[in-house]
């Protein structure tokens, strides 16, 4: 296992394609936090995010032989995560202030229960401002939101976001710009 930890993604994928589950487990360890966070950004619910991201790993594992290596593993995998999240949000579209309030409260409760060592950034935007961010992100077109979350929250490059979203870099730039402009507009009074 220690040796496998040193292997690059491509090598781990190649071994996984030969049926080495232990190698895929290294990929799980490597990407579980990112997968969870992207799912959390979409769902804002710890359990749902966990389920969705674990499903994404399962789906990636069962389709690993179809991965042809034309893109990097993580863009391929991110695409699976994002698609699962978009499917989920499509099914359970939550709009309106009431549900947003419930969501904020629920998240708060879960945080207190799960962990007592949050980063200070988490509380940097609170209350009304957080609600505003949530609302803006929720009402934003899905593609803009995806581009923003992948770039801002996940730190993917524009090129990688384009690969994940299967679009051009130019289009991603436009999505990102519109998302940022909308968020800035909604948060200006809280600066």
């Amino acid at each position: 296992m220690a040796d496998q930890l040193e292997l690059r993604d491509e090598e781990l994928v190649a071994l996984s394609q030969q049926g080495r589950r232990d190698c895929f487990e290294v990929l799980v360890r490597r990407y579980m936090e990112k997968a969870f966070h992207i799912a959390f950004n979409f769902t804002r619910d710890t359990e749902t995010a966990k389920d969705l991201s674990q499903d994404a790993f399962l789906r990636a594992y069962s389709n690993i032989k179809q991965f042809d290596g034309r893109s990097s593993f993580y863009t391929w995998f991110y695409r699976i995560v994002v698609n699962l999240c978009l499917d989920h949000t499509r099914r359970r579209r939550r709009v309106g202030w009431e549900s947003l309030d419930q969501m904020v409260e629920k998240t708060g409760e879960q945080n207190q229960f799960a962990d007592t060592t949050f980063l200070p950034e988490e509380h940097a935007i609170a209350g009304e401002a957080k609600r505003r961010v949530d609302k803006t992100l929720d009402t934003m077109p899905k593609k803009q939101r995806t581009a923003f979350l992948l770039r801002n929250h996940q730190g993917l490059s524009i090129s990688d976001v384009a690969k994940v979203m299967k679009t051009t870099e130019g289009t991603v730039r436009v999505y990102l710009h519109r998302a940022v402009a909308a968020l800035r507009q909604s948060l200006l009074e809280f600066v």
Binding site: R21, F24, E25, V28, R29, M32, E33, F36, H37, F40, N41, R44, T46, K50, Q54, F57, L58, Y61, S62, N111, A114, D115, T117, F118, L119, E121, E122, A124, I125, V133, L149, R151, N152, H153, S157, I158, R173, V174, L176, H177, V180, A181, L183, R184, Q185, L187, L188, E189, F190, V191
Partner: protein
């Protein structure tokens, strides 16, 4: 809380570039162009300041404790294991089938289907329609002829009867003829 006039927008043609500039994207030339513009444009500097203040706060990410990740990893590995076990069950059922056999069986199945449709169609028609034996033309012809000849016999007899009704002098020509007439009428 900010209530001043920082709602002022950046220059339209630079807004997108400023977002990319904030994220460190874009080429060296683009960055230099933006920096040159920033040096002389207050509203764009304002815009960039806003991004630098706001965006790092919209992280949305939760920092979960290590115990969460340990549990997460264990659960995922367990799910992968279950997936493998389930698949190996199916694999053992289809283990005797080599990979080349699948397309081969498929081809054979399609060929059989085509043959079945081609030859089965006529059989199907014969099943639907009742089987009727056709009478050969020669036999039909003979039958007609037979009726024809039978009718000729009657005509012949009639002519003989008519002849009977004529005066006796003419009719009674010979005893042999009369006897034959009687026999025919009978």
């Amino acid at each position: 809380m900010k209530t001043d006039a920082s709602l002022a927008r950046a220059c339209k043609e630079y807004e997108e570039d400023l977002v990319l500039y904030y994220y460190g994207d874009g080429g060296e030339d683009e960055r230099r162009k933006v920096e040159l513009h920033l040096a002389g444009c207050g509203s764009c500097r304002h815009f960039l300041d806003d991004l630098q203040r706001l965006l790092p706060q919209i992280t949305g990410a939760e920092t979960m404790p290590q115990s969460f990740w340990d549990r997460y990893y264990r659960e995922t590995v367990s799910k992968l294991q279950t997936h493998d076990e389930r698949n190996s069950g199916w694999r053992s059922i289809f283990a005797p089938l080599q990979t080349w056999m699948v397309p081969a069986f498929g081809t054979v199945a399609v060929a059989l289907l085509v043959i079945g449709l081609m030859f089965g169609k006529s059989n199907l028609i014969s099943l639907v329609e009742p089987h009727s034996e056709k009478i050969p033309q020669e036999i039909l012809a003979d039958k007609n002829q037979l009726e024809f000849f039978e009718s000729l016999d009657i005509i012949e007899v009639l002519s003989k009867l008519e002849a009977q009704d004529e005066p006796k002098t003419e009719v009674i020509e010979s005893d042999g003829n009369r006897a034959s007439l009687r026999g025919q009428i009978a």
